[in-house]
């Protein structure tokens, strides 16, 4: 075999490798390229020793520099917390009613309250706070237990109809299926439809008015305007927690409803409660 195997067409020598008559040309790479390659290999070795890299059975090598992204995140969170500590502290002790909207503590509260809401409240009230059947819509101007800052804060802190917090808001509607005849319930339903300005049977509603006066007005008010201290919903408006149609109303009156909400006072920090209160209050319905 000749010393050099020159390719006829290109005049370039070949590597001497041949596969089925196809030869590989030898266009030598520059040597610095090779050294750069060795350099990256060496760097890779140093790097994997210095930083966490090699997998072990349960973990990985920690690396000589002791670097950890997890620790770094924890550090950054701590740094942000420290940065916010002052404003958070001020929010925790602030009187919400007098906190100016352009106060940094107020802005911190609204922004932080959005996160609190997303992680703790949105499961029932929806990510957009629009509620669902049985879970109040927090965007509208109707409140069961009151919509000023104080009332919202109380509700958040103690919850509703729970056994955990002795100060929880409490009221209980009787199941009228055990008290009234079906016909009487039907008449009451017609009257409630009349109260909220919907289509109704006027004759039945007349009977229902008497029943409403006897059975319901103590909590829902003479004209169905609701009583907030009792969490008794206003029946004369367009907003319904469970539904305002004939069928749903019959169901509600017959079996009653018993919506509960946990007390967040035990689970959230003071500044988180204030924050979520501010957030809820500015959603569009705050009083």
């Amino acid at each position: 075999m000749a010393d050099k195997d020159i390719d006829q067409v290109t005049g370039t020598d070949t590597t001497g490798h041949e596969w089925d008559g196809i030869k590989e040309l030898n266009n030598p790479l520059p040597r610095w390229w090779l050294w750069t390659f060795y350099g990256t290999v060496a760097w890779g070795l140093v790097y994997t020793v210095a930083f966490p890299a090699w997998p072990l059975v349960n973990s990985a090598t920690a690396g000589l520099l002791g670097y950890s992204t997890r620790a770094e995140v924890a550090e950054q969170i701590a740094a942000v917390d420290a940065q916010n500590a002052q404003v958070a502290g001020r929010l925790a002790t602030a009187d919400l009613a007098t906190l100016a909207p352009d106060d940094p503590a107020h802005r911190y509260g609204v922004a932080g309250g959005a996160s609190v809401f997303a992680s703790h409240c949105s499961q029932c009230h929806g990510s957009g706070a629009a509620g669902a059947k049985g879970y109040p819509n927090l965007l509208d101007d109707d409140w069961l237990w009151g919509g000023d800052l104080e009332a919202i804060e109380y509700t958040v802190r103690h919850g509703i109809r729970n056994e955990v917090d002795a100060d929880a808001r409490w009221s209980e509607m009787p199941a009228f299926g055990e008290i009234l005849e079906d016909a009487e319930i039907a008449a009451t339903v017609e009257y409630v439809l009349q109260l909220s300005g919907q289509d109704h049977d006027a004759g039945l509603a007349g009977q229902g008015a008497v029943l409403f006066e006897e059975q319901c007005s103590a909590c829902h008010g003479e004209a169905g305007e609701g009583i907030r201290d009792l969490g008794a919903p206003r029946l004369s408006d367009a907003i319904w927690l469970y539904g305002g149609d004939r069928e749903t109303l019959t169901q509600t009156i017959t079996y009653s409803r018993f919506g509960v909400m946990p007390p967040w006072g035990a689970r959230l920090d003071e500044d988180e409660i204030k924050a979520v209160t501010l957030y809820l209050h500015q959603l569009g319905g705050g009083e």
Partner: protein, 476 residues
């Protein structure tokens, strides 16, 4: 297969290149281009431009933290990044245009790698002498003189490299302030590390890597092949005229020789270290220095210039047949180049147009769709919109927020403590406000599925306004 010889080496060391000094038309042109491009690069950050009290007074500034790009009288916000995209497309098309007309002119004249290498070679020649002296110095063993020359050269290179890396960071911060901070060690770490990296790359690429960057690191030489065709003007050797080449003009049979006297002048000046007489090569950056070199030789031996010249492949064939080459304009003005020019100009005009119709109020409206609407106690239907107003001017402004629609709708802007439905936007900032639009229960908008409407913001003082169309969701 038994091997009876050692396999050929797969790696080769870099062949040192010692370009000789040359004079001529193209060299002069290149000096000018080098001067102008370097001046633009080093001096631009120092140009001042008065924009009023609230804005930086640096003519060209990329403000990363503030997310603004300032270019003389133009200020680009992040949402206007399409301007940058447009400029990049224009730059790309410009490269296509020049390459299809004139081959690798970018490489030969304007590429930073070429410009800085040229500058570094200039320094090298100034300190170590021209080609022959440099070859001798290369071959000589280490001596005090060689060490002195080398160290001087490296020192000057290093200063240039530092200035290059240093100039870069001034585009990203107020130049005089940053310059002061850099010397007092108050500048941010990223400034120092950027300077360090760019100094190192400039020093190594311009001083040692040179043509290796073009041959092995840059993708452009390979893309060239696709961009050039047989009508493209490029640096080439008139084979038919030069061959057969020969030195001995007085020897017998010299009358059969071509014009090339095989003096190697073209090879000696070539910064890529190639012989253009071998035909077009990937390594050739079309710096045209070999044209200058050969023209000098031709003048000396009394032959017409242009043995090496800007030439197209199609001309080479025509000239061999004894025909005239096509005139230059026919090479430059071809359907392909006209198309590139048209596209280039179209984008350019579109960008300028966009720049001129750009209002200095910029608003976006994002309807809140979770939920689509809220029913209020009295049965009204309410939609919520997130309104963003960007104040692109240097003064604080107050805007009135309004709506127009065919149906009856009421607007309520959440902005406490101000005139109802007025919002104040500080200079050069974006304001975000929630806008409620409400339909009473008896009105059509409450009942039907959707209602078209337009939200407007109007400058309270100038009455300049901007509007965005959006939709109101009813119960339908």
């Amino acid at each position: 297969m038994p091997q009876d010889a050692a396999p050929p080496p797969l790696y080769a060391p870099r062949e040192p290149i010692f370009p000789r000094r040359v004079k001529g038309t193209f060299r002069t042109l290149k000096w000018w281009i080098m001067g102008v491009t370097l001046a633009i690069y080093y001096l631009t950050p120092w140009i001042r431009w008065d924009r009023g009290p609230n804005l930086p007074d640096q003519a060209v500034l990329i403000d990363m933290a503030g997310r603004r790009f300032y270019f003389f009288w133009i200020e680009i916000w992040p949402h206007e990044f399409y301007f940058v995209a447009g400029l990049l497309i224009m730059a790309g098309l410009g490269l296509f245009l020049f390459t299809s007309a004139l081959g690798r002119v970018w490489c030969g004249y304007a590429c930073p790698q070429t410009v800085w290498t040229d500058l570094f070679i200039l320094v090298e020649r100034w300190i170590e002498g021209d080609r022959n002296a440099r070859v001798r110095l290369w071959n000589a063993g280490w001596s005090a003189r060689k060490l002195r020359l080398r160290v001087t050269k490296w020192a000057v290179w290093f200063v240039i490299a530092m200035a290059t890396g240093g100039a870069w960071v001034f585009y990203f911060a107020d130049a005089p302030t940053l310059a002061r901070d850099l010397v007092t060690f108050d500048a941010p770490l990223v400034a120092y590390s950027t300077i360090l990296v760019l100094t190192a790359t400039t020093f190594v690429f311009g001083g040692f890597m040179r043509e290796q960057v073009c041959n092995y690191m840059c993708p452009w030489p390979r893309i060239q092949a696709a961009m050039m065709d047989e009508s493209t003007l490029t640096v080439a050797y008139r084979h038919w005229r030069g061959e057969p080449r020969g030195k001995h003009r007085k020897a017998e049979g010299a009358d059969k020789l071509g014009d090339c006297i095989d003096c190697m002048a073209c090879v000696n000046v070539c910064p890529a270290g190639i012989d253009i007489r071998d035909g077009q090569q990937m390594e050739c950056i079309t710096c045209a220095l070999c044209i200058d070199a050969c023209d000098e030789v031709m003048a000396r031996i009394g032959k017409p210039r242009g043995l090496i010249d800007y030439l197209a492949l199609s001309d080479e064939a025509a000239e061999t047949q004894g025909a005239q080459p096509r005139p230059i304009w026919q090479h430059v003005l071809r359907p392909r180049t006209v198309l590139y020019t048209a596209m280039w100009a179209l984008i350019g005009v579109a960008l300028v147009y966009a720049l001129f119709i750009r209002s200095d109020i910029d608003m976006t409206v994002e309807p809140v769709r979770n939920p689509q609407f809220v029913t209020l106690s009295d049965g009204s239907v309410r939609n919520t919109y997130t309104l963003r107003i960007r104040n692109l001017t240097a003064e604080d402004r107050e805007f009135r927020v309004m709506l127009t629609s065919d149906e009856i709708l009421r607007i309520d802007v959440e902005a406490e403590g101000r005139v109802p439905n007025h919002v104040a936007v500080p200079a050069n900032e974006t304001l975000q406000a929630r806008v409620y639009v409400i339909a009473r229960p008896q009105d059509a908008a409450a009942a039907q599925a959707t209602t078209d409407l337009r939200l407007w913001v109007e400058d309270v003082e100038t009455d300049d306004r901007a509007g965005v169309a959006t939709i109101f969701n009813g119960k339908g």
